[in-house]
Amino acid sequence: MISQYIIDALQQLLIPINFITLLISVFFGLLVGMLPGLTATMAIALLTGLTYRIAPDTAILSLVGVYVGSISGGCQSAILLNIPGTPASAATATDGFKIAKRGEGGLGIFLATTSSFLGTVISIFCIILLTPLLTKFALKFGSYEFFLLALFGVVICGNLTSGDDSLKGWISGILGLFIAQIGLDGLNSYPRFSFNNIELMGGITLIPVMIGLFGFPEVINAFMKEEKQILNITKFKMTEGFKIIKKNIVTVIRSGLIGVMVGIIPGVGEDIGGWLSYWAAKTNSKAKETFGQGNYEGVIAAEAGNNACVGGAIIPILSLAVPGSAPAAVLLAAFWLHGLRPGPLMMKETPYFLYQLCIFLTAGAFMMWILSQIISKFTVRVLQINKQILMPVIFVLCTVGAFVINNRIFDVYLMFIFGIVGLFLAKLNYPAAPFLLGVILGPMADTNLRRALVLSKGSLKPFFTRPISIFFIVLIMVLILSQLNFVKGLKKELVKGAK
């Protein structure tokens, strides 16, 4: 059966329209990833609207291509500009720019893109191995566990994305959970916080919120002055590049596995995967002092780690319907729009989807590697585009993207309003990822809490007697208590070591 699913997926891939779609979407992803200010989340959110009316297989292929391309594309501006194109490439800039400054920009980009490819492949193996296991585990979940899972997702996302101040992450998460309560409630159809407005009774649509939260602040930032110096891409020998990768293969595998584990954690993004992999490489290196001075291993670790998060973030989507990162959250929304139902029953209802997605990811990663080698000298010119020209055009696209899902102007208004919210979150140092995760997990948290209480007739006892519930409660308590001052010192050491 599995071989049949793989053959079917390969046949899908070889259909001319699908192949061309993959090529264009990976190219688009590389461009988006390269441009500081445009994120993978924004690109996938925009493309979700664009691909809404095309065949689901083609649509999923294009979104996966953009996802892989945009996470990897950020390395080019990180290495040549010292400005990461996406947050995922922040760790790459640490050594990448120094490599480019000593005249090895071409080699730096080759190492980065090859590591990205290998990191994605490692994560694909993990998807195939871990998703069925996690799905079997998820089938034991009841309403109690799903409620606690939603809570756990928001708390851990708040902890890991807010730097030193988890309180801000939790506030952001709570606000997101609240936004999800607006509209008719899932059990009684009672209108909540809708102010008798029919549009609000339908609830807050996800895609406009995402576009607003992640796109709007970057559009606004374009109006601020900036200066940049762009280095050139230099020639290099591929054999030299492959030798360096071979020499650092242990780093690639370790970073890949770290990236997968980070990706699995709900809401935690590719940037954390990149930094943790970088920190692990530095800690295990015999030449720690060379990190930050243009060490190839730094670039390799960061890029393998951040791209491995792509596959890692997809594992909880397929098994639990919980996104592992912000771009993965948009991917989940896209799956829902196309009638797919990832979650614990996926392996029973649509088992082919797992293998199809893996084939698409592999093809996307390979296409990304090929395109990066061929076109990097041309795409680097895109970095020279004035942001004050680019960003207004991007905002017009954001408006279209917000409109096309439901064909209502109200969603465009929502996009603007949540854009202002996103701007305030950014300026006040509140992370946007927990907010987004709260919006996604809010309905799951609400309906499962009330369903659980109906089943137990209002008693909280099952939460403290079911083994998986106890596990989640302990985990949540540990996450909250770990923010006490004496434990925070440990976290500071980790970040200091990585930088």
Partner: protein, 162 residues
Amino acid sequence: MKLKQKHQYLDIVTAVVLSAISIYIITESCWIIKDSKVKLYTSPGLMPLILGIFLLLCSLILLKRNIEKLVLKKILSNFKLLFESFIRDSNTINILKGIIFLAIYVFLLVPNFRFWLASLIFLISIMSIFRATSLVRICIISILSVVSINVLFQVIFHVPLP
């Protein structure tokens, strides 16, 4: 004023606003619980009530933490300094200009004009105000962008535009 201090003052303002929002959420949730006439544990007001309480708790912790760090006497006078420096900052003025333009586009132009016209007016005016490049180039880029978007969405993908 140092950056860290600025953030502390901003956190105080945020904490006060969030506290007010959470009190509203709690009040409204209690009303929903009363109006829905079902048991508390099945009520649609339960989850918002829990969220409102936790939001209030977090806001008060944030407020307490930041007030402790600052000298009480100087808080009010420093707020005035912070506000003045915020208004005078050129980046702030540019950001506010940008937001106003985007708001005009979303709330005024798009609902009342055809999409291609609204977008053209928006692109030309915003790029001109921020002096992105010469006026001729701005017009060419704007026309090309609007035509490309229309062709891509309406003609190729048959996606209706606003």
